[in-house]
């Protein structure tokens, strides 16, 4: 139960971080924090239910998160090279 509360807290910290931070890399790290909070929830639920599904799912989530890092960093790199900035506030050409 305590682990679930911890995972909810971590998830919330991640979600708030995504909303308030400006640097795209930090925003992205906050998303990763959310995914890891989810992993913690899966593993503790797995323990609670006494089946292994949750632990297996955690592995899948890790792999998917790694793939996401690859794509995400490539995109952030591309925009950093052309703008010299990775702030999400500077990327404001598309609006209204």
């Amino acid at each position: 139960m305590n682990y679930l509360i911890l995972s909810a807290i971590l998830f919330t910290i991640g979600a708030v971080g995504v909303l308030v931070r400006r640097n795209a890399i930090v925003v992205f790290m906050c998303v990763e924090l959310m995914l890891n909070a989810t992993n913690l929830a899966f593993v503790s639920f797995s323990h609670q239910h006494g089946n292994l599904d949750g632990q297996i799912i955690a592995f899948f989530v890790m792999v998917v998160a790694a793939a996401e890092v690859v794509v995400g960093l490539a995109i952030i790199m591309a925009i950093f090279r052309s703008r010299r900035s990775s702030s999400v506030d500077d990327a404001n050409l598309l609006k209204y």
């Binding site: 989810t38 639920f45 052309s82």
Partner: protein, 522 residues
């Protein structure tokens, strides 16, 4: 503890290899297989040859998978759970997968049109740099695009078929990750394109984290991520568990984001406007089909018993989506952005079909998806044809008097807009009629009233474009219409299907009705 007890009982000899139904999984495996082959082509074949190999290969892969789906659909009554329960191969799934494949084939015509010049020769080159100029001069293309597209299409097919939430999450990512990259590949207006990619990526990753946390909570509630097990668990316990309700809410956030429903619509206009137009056509048609397919399955199978709890929320979302999409579109001056808001409004119409949770609702939604997909690809194809010196002429004012300069193109575009508005004798009317009728039968009359009002609002801005095209004087330096065979073929296909499904909808309605007759397998 029970956990360790389970660990001890699983000895090495007990683990058996999973039984896979290769015949039923074939279409997806074929698409993924051809995608892997495409990556090999990128690695092993010289730069000049890649494009000539990739295009036929991609085309063959998609067409082969479509034929396979037709065989599966005709041969037996498709009601199977395949791959140890991870994938459901049933009639609605086959219909959705077939739709995705056909729409992807039509989008491929746009993507493969080299004269169109929508894609950058080298994604890593800086905008305006020497490397970029060299790339354009040498006429090379970023042919990784085709395997990326195949991975995205394969992910979409799996997303509609996923029978447990883990498979659904993996499919969601397999579908989204290539699309994030494809958004950033525009040749002109690179900064806009890259900005669209970053926005889509960050928001998409954010929403998939919500989807995953919802999955975790539902796993905590039901002890399994299989949709049917969740349905059983919710059936046994009628009480309102906070764990269950929070899980449903978070899961819905992830699904509604992919649909582009209000309040999770903010990415859609930016991404549709910034992405290369052929990719926008792919996203507006295929991704929408996949997202609606997964939403249908989750709400029809897993959360069926909870409909009293989620229905008020979904009503609110559907009403907001229809109204916000239609109202904000009125003030848009960029055509791609306007079509993005129109796509948001259409997501709202589709949600009315989802909320009905009936056979009629399912078949209406299936028909709507097929009809809307073709119309939207056709409309985006026309946008790629109208060009200025600096690329596509996206601004509405540049389209002034197009009807006098090239009446055919303007006429076809006007026809697509009328289909979006839902004028009779177009497929848009038949689709809207089907979902609204299902919604009324399901007791959601207020929703239909809002839908009709929103259609009336939407008709205003569609007609405004038609007025600008036909009743204003063309500018002296107006954009030229560039016709190439693949793009023209995509426009013609879109227009033909829009007419046929509007005038003679019955055969297609029958197919959709048959597909929906058994609902989803569980």
């Amino acid at each position: 503890m029970t956990g360790s007890a389970v660990l001890n009982t699983v000895a090495i000899g007990d683990i058996q290899a999973p039984h896979l139904e290769y015949g039923q999984l074939g279409p997806m495996l074929l698409v993924f297989g051809v995608a892997v082959l495409g990556v090999l082509v990128e690695a092993l074949v010289g730069r000049g040859w890649r494009q000539f190999i990739q295009v036929p290969l991609t085309f063959a892969g998609l067409a082969g998978a479509f034929v396979w789906i037709l065989v599966l659909g005709v041969k037996d009554k498709p009601l199977h759970v395949a791959a140890e329960g991870a994938v459901g191969v049933d009639a609605p799934t086959l219909f959705l997968q077939g739709t995705i494949l056909v729409l992807a084939l039509v989008s491929l015509l746009l993507i493969a049109d080299r004269q169109n010049g929508a894609f950058t020769p080298q994604a890593s080159a800086l905008p305006g740099s020497d490397a970029e100029r060299e790339g354009i001069a040498s006429g090379t293309v970023q042919s990784e695009l085709y395997p990326l597209m195949l991975f995205a299409v394969g992910g979409m097919m799996l997303f509609t078929a996923a029978n447990d939430l883990l498979t659904m999450f993996v499919a969601l990512e397999v579908m989204s990750l290539p699309l994030y990259i494809m958004c950033g590949l525009a040749r002109r207006r690179r900064l806009l394109s890259q900005e669209a990619a970053v926005k889509y990526f960050l928001l998409g990753a954010f929403s998939s984290a919500f989807f995953l946390y919802g999955t975790a909570l539902l796993y905590g509630y039901a002890g399994s991520v299989r949709l049917s097990d969740i349905a059983t668990a919710t059936g046994n316990n009628a009480g309102s568990e906070p764990l269950l309700l929070a899980g449903i809410a978070l899961l819905s956030v992830g699904l509604l984001f992919k649909l582009g429903a209000v309040p999770f619509q903010a990415w859609k206009p930016d991404v549709y406007q910034g992405a290369p137009t052929p990719v926008t056509a792919l996203m507006a048609s295929c991704t929408l089909v996949a997202a609606v397919g997964a939403t249908l399955r989750v709400f029809y199978v897993a959360l069926e018993n909870m409909s009293w709890d989620w229905r008020p929320m979904m009503w609110g979302v559907a009403i907001l989506t229809m109204l916000v999409g239609a109202i904000i579109a009125i003030t848009q001056t960029d055509l791609k952005r306007m079509l993005a808001y129109s796509s948001i409004a259409h997501a709202g119409f589709l949600l009315t079909g989802v909320i009905a949770t009936s056979q009629a609702g399912l078949s209406g939604t299936l028909f709507y998806l097929a009809a809307y997909g073709f119309t939207t690809i056709g409309a985006f194809a026309v946008i790629t044809m109208v060009r200025d010196a600096g690329g596509e002429a996206g601004h509405l004012s540049r389209w002034a008097g197009l009807g006098k300069r090239s009446p055919v193109v303007a006429g076809v575009f006007a026809f697509f807009l009328l289909a979006f508005a839902g004028i009779p004798l177009t497929s848009g009317f038949t689709g809207k009629f089907a979902v609204f009728k299902a919604a009324i039968d399901g007791g959601a009359t207020p929703l239909v009233v809002v839908g009709v009002i929103s259609s009336a609002i939407a008709a205003f801005f569609y007609l405004r474009v038609i007025v600008v095209m036909f009743f204003s004087e063309p500018a002296a330096d107006g954009p030229a219409v560039v016709t190439t065979i693949p793009t023209a073929a995509a426009v013609a296909l879109g227009a033909t299907v829009t007419v046929v499904l509007g005038v003679l909808p019955q055969p297609m309605l029958d197919v959709a009705g048959q597909a929906a007759s058994h609902l989803f397998v569980r």
